[in-house]
Amino acid sequence: MTAVVAPAAAEPRRPARRAGVLDWLVTTDHKHIGILYMATTLGFFLVAGAIALVMRAQLAQPGLHIVERQAYNQLFTLHGTAMIFLVIAPFALGLANYLLPLHIGAADLAFPRMNALTYWLLLAGGLTIFSGLLLSTGAAAAGWTMYAPLSDFENTPGPGVDLWIMGVLMISASSIMTAINFLTTVMLFRAPGMTMMRLPVFVWNIIVTSLIILMAFPPLAVAMAELFIDRRLGGHFFDASHGGSAILYQHVFWFFGHPEVYVMILPYFGVVTQVVSTFSRRPVFGYLGMVLASFAIAGLSMGVWAHHMFTTGAVNNPFFSIMSFLIAVPTGIKYFNWIGTMWQGALVFPTAMLFAIGFMLNFLLGGVTGVMVASPPLDYHVEDTYFLVTHFHYTLAGGSMFALLAALYFWFPKITGRLLSERLGMLSFWLTFVGYNITFIPLFLVGLLGMPRRVVTYLPLPGWPELNLTSTAGAGVLALGIALTMWNLVVSWSRGAPAGDDPWGGGTLEWATSSPPPERNFHALPPIRSDRPAFDMRMPQGTPGGQARARAG
């Protein structure tokens, strides 16, 4: 647990001296690593977002205007791969890297050097995947699911797929180590008084996410190893003509792939919970139910993988259907918890709260359409059409991405000591929210009309060009909204208004230390008597942090 950065000086608001490049390269401080994670994943986010814009431009009208077939195939593969493996999931892990020790009153994570390794593995994995673009045969182009046998040597001889496999292996190793680190830290390093039932909901969700990672990523590594053996070492795991099975790949991949979607959502549920609680000035409603719901989601998520295979005719559809339906129940509980948290609260709407509300509104559409695609007969129609693409974008982009932006606005002041511009933030929110929905609502419709996913162009059937053009226009608005937030980050990093220790009236421990926190996080800890110690600290006359139902004010 030795931090390599310079020791704290007298002035606690800033790290002793400005960290130089070398300090960043060798750091083992969880805050610095968290910042590296978040900055890197935002970088990949911009790349993947730019790719999405190119795809939308190509799809604006029927015909091949912008990119060629094989180029498009690389684009959606890279966009999906980056968004999933390099943006949404690792940003959450980076955020947890920064916040988890602060949330539980610890000085660092349990294994700081391993923590640094996870970051460098992630970066190397991402660069490895993208390096395929330098090959004459191009980067992997078989979709982020990399289905065999399309991805085998016979059908895709170029080394782009091998690079993709190696990159994904590095990322899965990184995620597994991070999960072990988080779990160990929460088990061993909680501050005195921080009992399990006083952990912030975000921390609970990171615990559950880590458990899911430990269950889901080893199978991913197996799938990747088998794919590589098939490609380069003469294996036949997925080759039907030699006794292998294409269906086997799908089983192993989705045994990872479905739980992965909860890795990409549970941390963001935690973010929204904390943002909503803070800006409603209310404790989290139904805390225990919230925690149990997360565990229920984790448990069920291990038994639904084959809902991605309803149309193969090779799985027990009713079983995987009912299991998938059941996940709607704990997810619904979260919604009612958020509503209960806002109920009778005193709501204010800074940008972080707006993005959290945007999350709730968008993710709901992802949820109800999720119940539709969990019904095999309906899935027979919409599977692998734009309806499905839109369903998962409502959960991952309309959902997780909005919560990611909420997290940026909420914790940027803690991380930098400066506020983001609220005016830019508001504007960014409205452009993002409206642009997002203009982009994706038409895609629900064109999906129902039968437009397949992963196509470089489409027939000019009635309605298709109009709906696609609307979607592309919306993507432009959305991009403007995101660009404003990025600009906001850049200018506020050095010129934002000073934030003070606690600009929002937050409840969790990080708001009880300085912004940015000192090297070992806390000079002194407040007494911890609830899941909102910072809130209790400001309410010395014993306002009910605990179970009491008192009314104050």
Binding site: P62, R69, N73, A240, R282, P283, I333, A346, L364, L424
Partner: protein, 259 residues
């Protein structure tokens, strides 16, 4: 803080003042967005799927409407009005039990309907009227009519047009020779994967004559986009005459010019 131009500042003020009204509008838009008609279901099986869709759509609209209503109510009703500390209660067990139990009831209902529909859609007749062996390959389709010597073959440039009779049970026997493809006909609301090494069987009973577009919807590489086909559904008598023309390989002669 002087970094925003004036128009940004003014827009920010407007946004803040009317923070909740547009949320309502966009939420409404979101709901009406899914209210789309499906393509008219042209098979008996597809009709059942369309009925199930209607129930799911209404349930989804009801649930989403209720939840949106609650969220928007909170936003409007509970916005901060004074500096007082709001009530700090943290649970309400009866309410929590209710919002766990009611969704269980809803999904049980939806699952029952799903199961009933799926049994019908997946049922294969003991003796179908017509059988067609469909083989997917990179990047087109082969339709083989066993016992007749007739084969309809396609290429990406010349997608195949396969004949099928209306009102009879058509058995599709589906497989692939190379990678995973999927046989999808939007107007039938139906698809099935074509997996190498696996033979799939399903029945279609087409209700009205017409030309129905078919698409490959499992990504299969370079020319996936153009892996289309058409089913030409004709009255049974016409179909029989087509069969009686004797064994042959039918190639589509019209080059398909659209993208």
């Amino acid at each position: 803080m002087r970094m925003d131009p004036g128009w940004v500042r003014r827009a920010g003020v407007v946004c803040r003042r009317y923070a909740s009204a547009p949320l309502l509008a966009v939420a409404g838009l979101g709901l009406s967005g899914c209210a789309s008609p499906l393509p008219g279901a042209a098979t008996v099986q597809g009709q059942r799927i369309a009925h199930l869709w209607a129930v799911f759509f209404l349930s989804a609209a009801g649930v989403a409407g209720a939840v949106y209503g609650l969220i928007l109510w909170c936003i409007v009703r509970y916005r901060r009005r004074s500096d007082g500390l709001p009530p700090q209660y943290r649970d309400n067990i009866p309410v929590e039990i209710m919002y766990t139990a009611v969704p269980v009831g809803i999904v049980a209902f939806l699952f029952a309907l799903t199961y009933g529909t799926e049994i019908h859609v997946d049922r294969v007749a003991p003796r179908p009227d017509v059988t067609i062996n469909v083989t997917a390959f990179k990047w087109s389709w082969l339709f083989d009519y066993p016992g007749t010597g007739i084969t309809v073959a396609g290429t990406p440039d010349y997608p195949p047009i396969a004949m099928v009779p209306v009102g009879r049970t058509v058995r599709i026997v589906l497989t692939s020779t190379d990678v995973v493809h999927a046989f999808y006909i939007p107007s039938f609301l139906y698809k099935r994967d074509a997996t190498p090494g696996l033979v799939q069987r399903f029945d279609l009973e087409i209700r009205r004559p017409g030309e129905y577009l078919g698409e490959c919807v499992e990504f299969c590489g370079f020319d996936h986009t153009r892996m289309r086909f058409w089913l030409r559904a004709v009255p049974p008598a016409q179909f029989d005459r087509w069969i009686e023309q004797g064994p042959r390989v039918v190639h589509q002669r019209v080059r398909y010019t659209a993208p």
